[in-house]
């Protein structure tokens, strides 16, 4: 069995948003829609203040509330742990979006453009009408993973088979790999470090692990 999962080393992240931009470009998301985004969280009071940068997005939960609630089966969980979207089936009811505790889902009802009321050439070329008025979210770049695997590549190791955010990161904040494989990079990192998962108390068994300290 395989479960694709991601580790996010919060010690490393600097909030540069390179992954945000890379994701937007790799997935052609419209202005305002960010499947991957990095939050800027301040805590404490002056002068004892902390500022933490937290990449968020779809957690590809093992027990995904979005899959449970979806009335159409447009959202599914694959055997390898990836939570997928079928744009041809989704009715855009938004139920998955309110069921997701990670605010990871988006629905775009109107086309929006970087500049003014018309698409530029690259926006026009990449526009996918299937994505309008249906739920969309981070796919862990499932197309890259599948195409890479078909070519015998290893996700998380070979860039062609790895999510764009991981590929782009300039601080090695991200690692991606198979949680079920004890030798994988993510398994190793989790064994060697202290980590948490966001809103773990909700029982979603999320697939993004946040590393905070070495053991």
């Amino acid at each position: 069995m395989t479960r694709w999962a991601m580790t996010v080393d919060l010690r490393r992240c600097i909030g540069c948003q390179t992954c945000t931009a890379a994701c937007k470009q790799a997935n052609a998301t419209p202005p305002g829609t960010q499947w991957r985004q990095v939050l800027d969280m301040e805590s404490g009071e002056y002068p004892d203040v902390r500022r933490t940068f937290v990449p968020v997005g779809c957690m590809h939960c093992a027990d995904p509330p979005c899959v449970h609630v979806c009335p159409t089966t447009a959202t599914r969980k694959r055997a390898d742990g990836l939570v997928t979207m079928d744009y041809d089936v989704c009715i855009g009811c938004g139920y998955c979006a309110v069921a997701c505790p990670y605010q990871a889902r988006h629905i775009n009802h109107r086309r929006s453009y970087a500049y003014g009321d018309a698409p530029d050439e690259t926006e026009a070329a990449r526009f996918d009408p299937k994505r309008m008025s249906v739920a969309n979210k981070c796919t862990f770049c499932v197309d890259r993973i599948d195409a890479g695997l078909a070519q015998g590549l290893k996700p998380g190791v070979d860039p062609e088979a790895t999510p764009a955010c991981v590929n782009s990161c300039i601080t090695q904040t991200y690692a991606f790999g198979d949680l079920e494989d004890p030798a994988s990079n993510v398994s190793q990192l989790l064994a060697e470090n202290h980590w948490f998962r966001m809103h773990e108390e909700l029982g979603t068994d999320p697939g993004i692990y946040y590393i905070v300290d070495g053991k």
Binding site: C16, Q17, A28, V49, C169
Partner: protein
């Protein structure tokens, strides 16, 4: 999209921390996506990645607001309120217009009646435009005298004192920790995570995980502070007090032998004896500085073999002292002491208790930090690199921009460099390193740029201050050679002078100063001083006075609004250029490789835009400079000399060549250079592979081995040379009646003193009202999304930068805001005595209660998209004045302001 897919190798050099290597995915002839050049991970110090800015290149290419045709101005009136009335013209007409004006100028003479070049040019971003301007530098070289001294950010937006003093002390135009090895970094406002580029971000992240402790000392909690182990909120412009407090602790509260005594004795000027007039005591015969040899109990020249120099003590000696303008004093049997002893005595006054009153940091904290610094230094430890045993001192101090420019910059840089020397951590593994040279030559090698001067320190090409050698009449408008000896005489020196003086003195020349004339023709490329400099409303007016401005335009902006001709360039992924990569470059860009990388057309140029190389060639042809232009390219103006040992790819100087031909030759020469003539692959090879490098020794990261080899000492702690030069410069200026530079002359101290630096800004503000009207400090902070990139009109950058709190607003301490009745998002007005600006309040705990912050530079009123962001900008608020100008000709991005709530959140 299902058509053919290509991944086209490119580089991104939008900021000085580059270059980074990437690929642009092109589907059906349309650029869709930027990716790191994964293959480059093997040679690039940041894993082959590129930063967020590079991802904006696609949108930049297809931005509908681009200028896509040459245009000329139809409205003769210039100014913000005068619509330029640009109308499209053909390239022929545009080039004829520009060439006609150039030919007219050439007929009159390259310099005007005062002696200033009639042609001026301003480029932005720390020299990064040269990585996009193709062979335009060859055209300028062919032209002759050009005035580069109208600044667009230099001096107030750069590490100015670091550039000048850094090059003097350790060939460090920029300085950084040896991040891969260091264990402890004190960062005084250095915003590495925003401005250190991919290499900096990559290495610091790895260092954090490895256990590096970085303490961030700055008035607000920047992204770098966020990623640090500790944040110490220091009062703005008081960093020297903290640093001097640390020096005092090291010198007077720690055992002397905890310092690196050997390093101080043998690798610095610490043991040099100082005479009663403040100059080194010298051997009367050789004029060499003397030290006290404890082995023989006698004086000895600094370079005498087998000595045991005394670090401290009082000694009776016979010697001479050489002062300013050759003045000499003969001394017999005088009591003298060492430079180090003078330093120790001088530093006694700067107790942590004294520092607390200045910088608002508890003495215990300063003592703790000093202790941690010393402890982590591991004095005595060594490391072997490539067979050479070197000291290992894994501690470093990094300084940020507002710390290293303007008043206090000298003192901060001095203290930082001295602290490195005290523990033997300058230019050694783990320590504080310089990364590039710009004022010394050759710029390609720090090691090759050093030679031993007469006093045993590195030679430095000071601008002369002698009676007969001083440049009485400036040759360029910012007068760098006249007023700033340290700015040296390299091609970069003009841009490192007091570049605001060119603008200021245009308005009104000071006493006994030649008129600062407007250039007959001004080239502007990838820079926008009308919004990026200080007191920008003033700059804007001066720009409008220029009679003929030629702007290479991407979109309309606030500077080219005043232009006469707009020439639309083919941008990053539409044009060709080969650049040098690797070695040690700005900021943290240490590589283990060096070579060349290509930028190439991934997509066809939009509209009628043209490759800068083709524009330069056309201008050269139309001004009759083709032979000189081609000659300049042949000599290396395009990045590599076209002929070398065993190869010759020179262009026929008499012919016009298109960009592809020129760059093919440059590529061939570059291949030959990198492979010692073995390969001669041309443009096609680079188009496919993107870059070609060769490994370089790790030892090139460190200057210390070369200094040790040449027997050169670091010019620390006693600044005899600066002291002398200051006296000479003062004499020259006074000789011609100039007294308005007297305050600046006070910076030339042998042992710098901490002055009331914040008071300089407070007094300046108080002249224009009560200081109570301006109770806050206003600072800026860099943003990786925007820094250098001129991408303020990019929707993508705007969107992703919005994820970081602080962009587009006025950051204010939450407690302070509540006292003032300001809530999150309320529209507030921030006012200096020069100007005011408005924006939404952003309440944060991570900023001092007496400080406000505005990130980035947003004051656009013409540039599409950016002008609708309505973000506040401090640039219009910072007064441009001599009072705020230090001896290097720089000022800090800092101003006293008041704030008031205008209305509730929208």
């Amino acid at each position: 999209m299902t058509g053919p897919v290509r991944k086209v190798p490119q580089y991104c050099y939008q900021c000085v921390a580059g270059p980074d290597l990437l690929t642009v995915k092109v589907v059906d002839g349309i650029a869709t996506e930027v990716e790191p050049n994964f293959a480059a991970a093997e040679v690039h110090p940041g894993g082959g990645k590129c930063c967020v800015k590079a991802f904006g290149i696609v949108q930049k290419t297809y931005n509908p607001n681009r200028c896509l045709r040459p245009m000329k101005r139809t409205n003769p009136n210039k100014g913000r309120d005068h619509d330029p009335g640009f109308v499209p013209i053909s390239w022929d007409e545009a080039l004829d217009l520009v060439a006609g004006k150039l030919n007219e100028i050439r007929a009159k003479g390259l310099t005007d009646e005062i002696g200033y070049p009639r042609v001026a040019a301003s480029f932005g971003g720390g020299g990064t435009p040269t990585y996009y301007m193709g062979t335009f530098p060859a055209f300028l070289a062919a032209w002759g005298a050009v005035d580069f001294s109208f600044g667009s950010g230099q001096g107030v937006k750069c590490y100015h004192s670091e550039h000048l003093y850094g090059e003097l002390w350790h060939r460090a135009f920029t300085v950084c920790p040896d991040t891969p090895t260091t264990k402890y970094v004190l960062s005084f406002g250095a915003n590495t995570e925003a401005s250190g580029g991919v290499a900096g971000a990559w290495r610091h992240a790895a260092a954090r995980v490895r256990g590096l402790k970085r303490v961030q000392i700055e008035p607000h909690l920047s992204v770098t502070g966020a990623a640090s182990a500790e944040w110490i909120p220091i009062k703005p412009k008081t960093d020297p007090a903290f640093l001097f407090g640390m020096i005092r602790v090291l010198l007077h509260e720690k055992p002397r032998d905890a310092l690196d005594i050997f390093f101080l004795k043998h690798h610095t000027g610490s043991p040099y004896l100082v005479g009663p007039n403040g100059f080194f005591l010298r051997d009367p015969a050789t004029r060499k500085p003397l030290l006290w040899d404890a082995k023989r109990n006698a004086v000895a020249p600094f370079d005498a073999p087998d000595t045991e120099p005394a670090l401290e003590g009082r000694f009776t000696v016979d010697a001479i002292e050489v002062g300013a303008d050759g003045q000499e004093w003969q001394h017999a049997g005088i009591e003298a002491t060492t430079a180090f002893a003078k330093l120790a005595e001088h530093m006694k006054q700067y107790t942590p208790e004294w520092a607390e009153k200045v910088c608002d940091i508890r003495p215990g904290t300063i003592r703790r930090i000093a202790g941690e610094y010393l402890e982590h230094a591991q004095v005595g430890a060594t490391i072997e690199i490539e067979g050479e045993t070197l000291p290992l001192r894994p501690v470093a101090i990094a300084l940020g921009k507002t710390v290293t420019n303007g008043w206090g910059g000298y003192e901060a840089c001095y203290a930082r460099t001295l602290l490195a020397c005290l523990i033997g951590g300058l230019e050694v593994p783990g320590g504080t390193l310089g990364t590039t040279v710009r004022l010394n030559r050759p710029a390609t090698s720090r090691q090759a740029s050093i030679s031993r001067g007469p006093d045993g320190f590195m030679h430095y090409p000071m601008n002369p201050t002698g009676k007969d050698t001083w440049q009485r009449v400036p040759k360029v408008r910012n007068a760098h050679a006249t007023l700033v000896p340290l700015s040296a005489n390299s091609p970069w020196s003009q841009a490192l002078g007091p570049t605001h003086l060119a603008w200021m003195f245009r308005r009104q020349a000071p006493e006994h100063w030649p008129e600062v004339t407007a250039p007959g023709l001004w080239f502007v490329y990838r820079t926008n001083p009308s919004i990026s400099f200080w007191e920008t409303r003033e700059i804007e007016k001066r720009v409008a006075e220029f009679p003929f401005t030629v702007a290479f335009a991407y979109t309309i902006d606030e500077t080219n609004w005043m232009a006469d001709v707009l020439l639309p360039e083919a941008t990053d992924i539409e044009s060709t250029q080969l650049i040098r990569i690797g070695g040690t470059k700005f900021i943290e860009a240490f590589w283990d490789h060096e070579g060349f990388a290509l930028r190439q057309p991934a997509v066809a140029p939009r509209g009628e835009t043209r490759d800068m190389t083709d524009i330069a060639t056309e201008l050269a042809a139309r001004t009759g400079l083709l032979e000189k232009y081609n000659g300049a390219i042949n000599r290396g103006a395009a990045g590599a000399a076209l002929a070398g040992a065993g190869w010759d790819f020179s262009l026929d100087a008499a012919q016009e060549h298109d960009a592809a031909t020129i760059w093919d030759r440059v590529c061939r020469a570059a291949s030959a250079e990198v492979t010692d003539g073995k390969a001669t692959d041309g443009l096609d090879w680079y188009r496919e592979h993107g870059y070609r490098t060769r490994p370089i020794p790790r030892l090139t990261w460190y200057l210390f081995p070369e200094l040790r080899k040449q027997g050169i000492r670091f010019e620390m702690p006693y600044q005899e040379r600066l002291f002398r030069i200051g006296k000479e410069l003062g004499a020259r200026l006074h000789d011609v009646g100039i007294g308005w530079w007297d305050t600046q002359l006070t910076e030339y101290q042998a042992l710098p003193a901490v002055k009331d630096f914040p008071g300089i800004w407070e007094k300046d503000a108080a002249k224009h009202g009560s200081i109570g009207d301006f109770p806050f400090w206003l600072l800026t902070s860099r943003s990786m999304q925007y820094a250098w990139g001129a991408n303020v009109g990019s929707q993508l950058m705007d969107e992703v930068a919005g994820n970081l709190r602080g962009h587009r607003g006025v950051v204010i301490n939450t407690g302070t805001a509540r006292k003032l009745g300001i809530e999150e998002g309320d529209l507030v007005e921030v006012r200096s005595y020069v100007q005011s600006t408005r924006g939404p309040a952003i309440l944060k705990q991570g900023i001092r209660p007496d400080t406000l912050l505005m990130i980035g530079q947003f004051d656009q009123w013409a540039q599409p998209y950016a002008k609708d962001m309505h973000a506040p900008s401090m640039n219009a608020l910072v007064p441009m004045s001599l009072d705020l100008t230090d001896a290097t000709g720089s000022a800090a991005d800092l101003v006293r302001v008041g704030i008031k709530r205008v209305s509730a959140a929208a």
